[in-house]
C-alpha cells in the first residue's frame, strides 16, 4: 500500500477528535502544535465554532523550542491562559512533532496542574489516528474523572423510567442537523430518562451523574471506551447501536433488555450477513451498521458495511469489510451495484453503480452539511 489518496478525502484525525469531544464541557484544550491543527479543526471539523464559545487553542510551537526542549514556554502559556480564562480543566493534545521529540506530557501536565490548580488531562494523540481514537479517549477520560468513585449519594437522578446515557455523540458523526436532538426526544418518547449526553448538550455536572444510569447507549464507536469504563466502574451495561429510522424499535427493546439483565448488547450487528451483498455502505462502524440494519428492515436487503476507520470485529457481520486505502476501497467497490457513501467517495465508485449520497462531517467536513440527514427520521 502506498498510502495514497489520489482523489478522495481524509478523515478527521485524533487531535480534532479530542477537541470535538470536549468542546462543550467548559475546559481549555491546547493542541501542542506549531500551526494548522487549529485552523483545520475549526474550519472543517467543528460546526459549532462560529456560534458557540469554546477554549480551544494551539500552543504555536516554534522550531527552536521543539529542538531545545523548551517545555517551560508551553507550561507558562497554559498557566497564564488558565488564569485569564478560568476553565474547568485543561486538556493537552499531542501532535506529530511533540511525538517525534518525545515531549514528556505527563510531567508537563503534572506541573500545570500544580500551578493552575485545576485538573489537567493529557491525550497521546499524534495525528496519525482517526477521530474515533481521539474522541474515544477523551470521553473515557472525562467519564472516569467526573463520575468519581461511584459511591456518592444519588442526587437528581431519580427520574422515572430507565435511566440512559447517550455515549459517543459529536458533530463529527452526527453534525448539527437535528439527529442529536431527535435521539434525545426519541428516548423521552420511549419512556427513558436521559442522564447525560456525552458530549453534546450536557454539562460536566450532568456527566458527573453518568454512573447512575441503568444502561448506556453507544451511538458511535467513539463511545465504546467510555461505555466499557462505566461498565467496569458501575456495572452499567451498554447497547451499541444508533437509533436510525425503523431500527429505533430494536434499540429501544435492547435498552430495556440490557437494563433488565445487566448484559450488554451489540445491536448494530443484528442484521443479515453481507457476504453476497452488492449494496455497500461506507462509514463509521456503529452508525453504518445501524443504518444497514434499518435498510434491511425497510427494504429486505442485506448491506455490506465498509468501515475505513478504527473499529472492533464484534461490530460487524460476515461479509462486512474494513478498508481504508483508496486503492483497496476501489477494488471492493468495483463489484458493487449500489453504493451509499459520502459524496467525496464518488470518484472511486464505478460509474454504473447507483450512488446515494450520505455525507459524513468527519470525511467531507462542511461541504455537504446541508445534506446530512436526521438519522432518526430516515428509513421509517
Amino acid at each position: 500500500m502506498r498510502q495514497v489518496a489520489r482523489r478522495i478525502s481524509t478523515y478527521t484525525a485524533d487531535v480534532s477528535g479530542v477537541c470535538s469531544a470536549l468542546y462543550e464541557l467548559g475546559g481549555m484544550v491546547v493542541m501542542h502544535d506549531p500551526s494548522g491543527c487549529n485552523s483545520t479543526y475549526n474550519t472543517h471539523d467543528e460546526p459549532r465554532w462560529y456560534a458557540m464559545d469554546s477554549l480551544i487553542f494551539i500552543s504555536g510551537l516554534a522550531e527552536i523550542d521543539a529542538i531545545m526542549g523548551n517545555d517551560d514556554k508551553l507550561i507558562d502559556d497554559v498557566v497564564t491562559a488558565a488564569k485569564q480564562l478560568s476553565p474547568q480543566f485543561v486538556a493537552l493534545a499531542r501532535t506529530p512533532i511533540p511525538m517525534l521529540n518525545g515531549t514528556d506530557f505527563d510531567a508537563i501536565a503534572s506541573v500545570i496542574e500544580r500551578k493552575a490548580g485545576i485538573p489537567v488531562f493529557y491525550f497521546p494523540t499524534n495525528g496519525t489516528h482517526s477521530y474515533v481514537y481521539g474522541v474515544g479517549m477523551a470521553l473515557e477520560k472525562i467519564a472516569d474523572y467526573y463520575t468519581g468513585d461511584g459511591c456518592e449519594e444519588q442526587s437528581d437522578c431519580d427520574a422515572d423510567g430507565i435511566r440512559v446515557n447517550l455515549l459517543g455523540v459529536t458533530p463529527l458523526d452526527f453534525s448539527v442537523t437535528g439527529t442529536v436532538e431527535s435521539m434525545k426526544e426519541l428516548l423521552k418518547e420511549e419512556g427513558f430518562a436521559l442522564v447525560s449526553c456525552m458530549a453534546m448538550g450536557s454539562s460536566l455536572e450532568e456527566i458527573s451523574q453518568a454512573g447512575w444510569a441503568d444502561v448506556n447507549l453507544v451511538v458511535s464507536s467513539v463511545g465504546l471506551p467510555a461505555a466499557r469504563l462505566l461498565q467496569k466502574k458501575f456495572g452499567t451495561p451498554y447497547v451499541v447501536g444508533t437509533p436510525v429510522g425503523r431500527f429505533v424499535n430494536q434499540i429501544a427493546t435492547d435498552l430495556r433488555t440490557a437494563a433488565d439483565t445487566g448484559k450488554s448488547i451489540i445491536s448494530c450487528n443484528a442484521r443479515p450477513d453481507s457476504v453476497d451483498s452488492k449494496i455497500a455502505l461506507i462509514g463509521e462502524s456503529v452508525l453504518s451498521g445501524s443504518m444497514a440494519a434499518a435498510i434491511s428492515q425497510v427494504h429486505g436487503k442485506a448491506v455490506k458495511v465498509i468501515c475505513p476507520l478504527e473499529a472492533e470485529e464484534g461490530l460487524f457481520v460476515p461479509g462486512d469489510v474494513r478498508a481504508s486505502e483508496e486503492e483497496e476501497l476501489e477494488k471492493i467497490l468495483k463489484d458493487m451495484s449500489v453504493i451509499i457513501a459520502d459524496p467525496m467517495y464518488r470518484p472511486i465508485c464505478p460509474e454504473d453503480a447507483a450512488f446515494y449520497e450520505l455525507p459524513h462531517e468527519a470525511f467531507s467536513g462542511r461541504i455537504y452539511r446541508r445534506k446530512i440527514p436526521d438519522f432518526v427520521k430516515i428509513l421509517q
Binding site: 489518496a5 491546547v30 464559545d53 506529530p96 511525538m99
Partner: protein, 442 residues
Amino acid sequence: MLKKIHGLVSELEAAWPISETSYPVPFPSQLEYNSAAHGTWNIVHIGMLIPDAHQIYICTGNCNRGVVLTAAEMNASHRFSTITVKEENILDGDMEELIIDGVTDILEHLDRKPPAVIVFPSCVHRFMGCDIPMVYRVLRSRYPDIYFVEGYMDCILQKAGITPDQRLRRELYSCLEAQPLNSKSVNIIGNTLRVDKDCELVELVGRAGCELKQISACKTFEEYLSMGESYLNLTLLPVGKIPAETLKERLGMKHLYLPQCFGYEEIAGYLELLAKELQVAPLDVKERMERCEAALQKAKEVIGDTPIVIDYTAIPRPLGLARLLLEHGFSVIRVYADSFIPDEEEDFRWLQAHNPQLMIYSTIHVKMRVLPRIIETKVLAIGQKAAYFTGTPYFVNMVEGGGLYGFSGICKMAELMTEAFLEEKDTEDLIKRKGLGCESCI
C-alpha cells in the same frame, strides 16, 4: 447568536491604546486562537495559481485533512492528492521511499500528466532529516518532462525564517527558465489577486508599451512560463520581495519594490520611480491627489462619524490606511493586528503622536475567543477579522489588499467603504469561506 459558555473577561493584554503599544510586536507570544474568518489564502490556494499544476501533500492525516478539504471547497480536488504518513513510517524511517512511490503512483494514475507537480513534505520530514533533495533528484529523473516545484508544509517555521507561505510564493516561479529578457514585458510578482486594471501602475506599464504579466491572470501553463521573459518584476506586497529577489538572482530580472500604501507622497514617489524605469513621462499626481480628496470627502459625507475598524488581513498596511482616514476626519477606533511590517513604522509613530487613543487589538490572543464580538453602535469594518470581532454586517470584504493600488486604489477603497456602509452583508456566510477570490462550493 453567540452562545456563551465562559464568563466575561477584561480586554486587558489583548488590546492596547497605540500609545502604549510596542512596535513591531504588540503582544507577547502565547497560546493562539484562530478566529472563524478564513478568507485569507493558504498554500493550497496559492499553489493552484500555477495553471494545470498538481499538488501532492505528504503528512499525517491531521495535516492532510485541512489541505484536502481546502482543495475540495475550491472545486479543485482533481488537481490534488495526498500521501498519508503513518506511525510506522516515522518509526521505520522509510519516508523517502514513501514519497517517491506515492508521487509515482499518483502520476501514473492521472488521466494526463500535469506540466508541474508541487510536492509538499511537512514538519515531520524536516525533523526526521528526510533526504528531500534525493527525493526530487529521483522524481526529476523519472519524469524529466514534469517541473517539480518544491513546496513545504512545515508550519513549525511559521515564527522563524521563511514561512511556508513565503517559500511557496518563491517556488511558485521556479519553473520559469532563463531566456533572453524582453524589455517590453513586465511581471507583478507575489500577488495572489490580480492588480486592479484601472490603477496608475497598470497605466504606466501600458504607456511604455509593455505587456503586464501576473500569475493570477495566466490561463495556461505556457502563459505562466512566458513570465520568464520579463525584464522587470514589480512587487506590491511585502511577501513578493523574496520571490522577486530570487528571480533577480536566478534569471537576472530587475526588481522594483513599490508597495501598496496610502500616503500620497509615498505613492507619488513609487509612480515616479516606475515611470523613470519604464522611460515614460511621469503622471500628473496632483490631479490624482485631488481625485482622492474628492472620493474621501464623498465617503465621509455618507459614513460620517461611524466608528471604523480595520484588520491586517484586508491590507498589509492597516496603520497606513488608518492614518489616511483619520487625517480625513473619519473615526477609526481600532486596528486588529498581531504584528506590524517594517513598512508601517512611520505610520505607527505618527499614530502614536496624533491619535494615541487608537486601540490595537490582537486577533489571536486567547481572550479574543471570549471577549464580546459585538459593538452596540453601527460599525464599519475593513476586513473579515475586523467584521468578525465587532459582529458587524457592514464591512469591506477584502484580503491581501484586494488588488488595489495607488491613487486609484484610495478612490476605490473610499467607494468600497461607502458601499459597505450602505449595504448589509451576511458576515458569517462570507467570512467562513476560504480563499476570498477563489471558487467556494460551501
